[in-house]
């Protein structure tokens, strides 16, 4: 009886893990080392699928931004940093990264607006670097 119960529990755990992997396979695959991801030709596709999801943790977004930077994929990097900025609106460091990503992507006017906003001390009306 007890042995039977253990097998049932193991089957349930395996099933749960399978469902988790099926639902979050893309996110799991992004936990590989950054060098391996940078060399993976399917990285951009995976990252776009992850970014299309509404709830993505900051850790995963940071990983996408980092690998996109390594691959010189400025569009993907910008997309990831924009999402990070949305979850951390008051973080001036993220605002700086967003401005840099905009500049690298060729959106020079948007980058300049954001940089100028960062020059205004926090608390002054107009500061905050919103786009």
């Amino acid at each position: 009886m007890r042995r039977w119960l253990v097998w049932v529990l193991l089957a349930l755990v395996a099933g749960e893990a399978g469902v988790f992997l099926w639902k979050n396979g893309d996110v799991v695959s992004l936990s590989r080392p950054a060098d391996a991801l940078a060399a993976d030709p399917r990285f951009a596709e995976t990252a776009h699928r992850v970014l299309a999801q509404p709830d993505v943790t900051r850790r995963v977004l940071e990983r996408i931004a980092d690998v996109a930077a390594r691959r010189s994929d400025s569009a993907l990097q910008l997309q990831a940093i924009t999402r990070i900025a949305a979850v951390a609106p008051g973080d001036r460091h993220v605002q700086l990264r967003l401005a840099e990503a905009l500049r690298r992507h060729g959106r020079l006017d948007d980058a300049a607006v954001l940089y100028r906003a960062l020059l205004t001390p926090p608390g002054v009306p107009g500061a905050g670097g919103s786009q």
């Binding site: 400025s74 001036r92 700086l96 500049r103 690298r104 992507h105 020079l108 940089y115 020059l119 001390p121």
Partner: protein, 572 residues
């Protein structure tokens, strides 16, 4: 006691909370400093150099820039505030003596300021920290040459030629320096060791060699020049001042416009101006005018005054029945002064009239390539391969043209034949690699090249192969390792990098490269913009860019090829 502990805890809490809350990002002054740097870079990417410099200066004022940012500040100042740039550059190389590009930039600024002492100090220090490079002895040699010290210049050029990045061009400069040091025999010996194609690639070299050869062993006077009288210099004339000779000659020419002796007197003066002016003002109907014109043009070429030389020969060369020698010189001068289309027109006539004129044929090949007609150039160049007098450079040009015109196997065979040549071997390997890439073998191409070198052709082939094997991002990252990408020969690589950046979405970098390219090679930049438009799915924009190019040069094969892709295919 307890109340004191509580007070300490409260004070610590009050002190720490603001610090903790500001950990949401860098401190305010840090963020402002970084924002100023970002603004400076944005302005630089936009091409507004003065604004970029202002922001960099402000960032540096708030907190002293270091490392890469300081080098960026130097390059921003380089264009708009040369005096300030010299101070900034000194800080860069003081912090990192291995910033060779900045050191070289500083040398350029010192040259512009006429500060030869600084040039030599910088170059000597560069030679200490970078002892294998040809750049520093070359800069020293150039400085000595500017100062008129031909002997020291020749010594430094000799060193340069043996270093990495040095080569036959430095040996040619050495020969020129030897001539300037009044050593015609040594100069003639130096010129004699150099390849004909190399010497004729620069007019001042050709003129120097002609002068020293005349000085040490006069050769038979060419047919055109034979009709000209020999320079007349009598003891009385030699003792006169230059002003006296000039005035006397002008009076003599006013009385007798076709007189030759006054021209000979003016030709002997150290200052070339009066002689060139007198020949230019002389009547075209004078029987020996053509030979004097050729002599005056050669003098102007020797001084690097190609525009003056061109103006001198233009009238006689375009007159009906102009001798073929004058038209050849006119065509070559047109090519040297940046008018390849007109040069091709003139040289076509010369080669049609006398197909044995190698100088005209070689110049025509170069002109046709410059105007984007490689197929027409190929027809001429292929015949030069079997010519026993064709230099190795011309044979290399044939291999290169084969690749340019899509004759991949032909290019491979010809370039392989030159692979082991000590002078052009590296360039030949770049062509072999290009042919291998064109035939779908990028891995073999990279194996042939061995590594990413700082020669434009080889670097482009290496990066093309890398882009095919590892992707465009990897190629762009590899391109960052190239230390020097300025000067002739790099335009194709710059166009390729602009295209790749555009494909990767780095529009700022792409536009910046295109703007720089447009200043030196406007038609290549226009073609690159069209290629980018095609690669990014904007065929209408590509067509708008290509149509003026094709209208200007109907034989522009690459522009026409691209234009084909701008129209929808019949199947669409």
């Amino acid at each position: 006691m307890t109340s004191r502990v509580i007070a300490v805890v409260i004070v610590s809490f009050l002190v720490c909370v603001p610090a903790w809350s500001s950990a949401q990002g860098p401190p305010a002054d840090d963020a402002e400093h970084l924002a100023l740097l970002g603004l400076a870079r944005t302005a630089r990417d936009r091409g507004t150099a003065t604004e970029a410099y202002t922001h960099f200066r402000e960032a540096d004022r708030r907190r002293a820039l270091v490392g890469g940012s300081l080098a960026e500040y130097f390059w921003a100042a380089y264009r708009v505030a040369p005096a300030a740039a010299r101070g900034i550059g000194a800080r860069v190389i003081s912090a990192n003596p291995l910033e060779h590009a900045v050191r070289d930039g500083l040398i350029g600024l010192a040259v512009s300021a006429g500060d030869e002492t600084a040039v030599r100090t910088l170059a000597a220090a560069g030679d200490t920290v970078d002892p294998g490079s040809a750049v520093w002895p070359r800069r020293l040699a150039e400085s000595y040459l500017r100062a008129g010290d031909g002997l020291r210049a020749s010594e430094r050029y000799e060193v340069t030629a043996r270093r990495t990045g040095g080569g036959p061009a430095d040996l040619a400069q050495r020969a020129l320096a030897l001539e300037r040091s009044s050593r015609p025999a040594s100069a003639a010996e130096a010129w004699n060791t150099l390849d004909e194609a190399l010497v004729s690639s620069r007019p001042e070299w050709l003129a120097s060699r002609t002068r020293v050869r005349k000085a040490v062993a006069p050769r038979p006077v060419p047919a055109v020049a034979r009709r000209a009288p020999a320079p007349v210099t009598t003891p009385e004339r030699a003792s006169r001042t230059a002003d006296e000779v000039e005035h006397a000659s002008q009076r003599a020419l006013a009385a007798e416009p076709c007189a030759a002796a006054p021209l000979a007197d003016l030709e002997a003066l150290a200052s070339p101006g009066p002689f060139l002016a007198a020949v230019a003002a002389r009547r075209a109907s004078c029987p020996d005018q053509i030979s004097w014109t050729v002599r005056a043009a050669e003098r102007a070429i020797g001084l690097g005054r190609f525009g003056d030389a061109l103006r001198l020969v233009e009238t006689p060369a375009t007159a009906p029945g102009a001798p073929v020698e004058v038209r050849e010189q006119y065509g070559v001068l047109l090519l040297w002064t940046g008018a390849p289309a007109r040069a091709a027109e003139v040289l076509r006539g010369v080669v049609a009239e006398d197909s044995h004129r190698r100088r005209a044929a070689d110049a025509l090949i170069d002109a046709l390539r410059a105007v984007g007609e490689p197929d027409a150039a190929w027809i001429l160049a292929a015949g030069r391969w079997g010519d026993p007098q064709a230099s190795v450079d011309r044979r290399l040009a044939v291999a290169s043209l084969a690749l340019e015109t899509g004759r991949v196997t032909d290019a491979l065979v010809r370039a392989r034949a030159l692979e082991s040549h000590p002078v052009v071997g590296a360039d030949a390997r770049a062509i072999v690699a290009g042919a291998l890439i064109a035939s779908g073998r990028p891995d073999q191409a990279r194996a042939v090249l061995g590594h990413l070198s700082n020669a434009p052709g080889a670097a482009l082939a290496w990066l093309d192969a890398t882009a095919l094997i590892d992707g465009v991002g990897a190629a762009l990252r590899a391109a960052d390792g190239l230390s020097e990408r300025r000067g002739a020969g790099w335009e194709e690589l710059e166009a390729r990098l602009a295209l790749w950046h555009a494909q990767m979405g780095h529009r700022g970098e792409s536009d910046q490269r295109l703007s720089l390219l447009a200043t030196s090679h406007p038609s290549r930049a226009a073609l690159a913009r069209a290629e980018i438009a095609l690669a990014t799915g904007r065929p209408a924009d590509a067509a708008a860019l290509l149509q003026p190019l094709v209208a200007q040069a109907p034989g522009h094969v690459r522009a026409q090829d691209c234009l084909l892709y701008t129209s929808p295919s019949p199947r669409d």
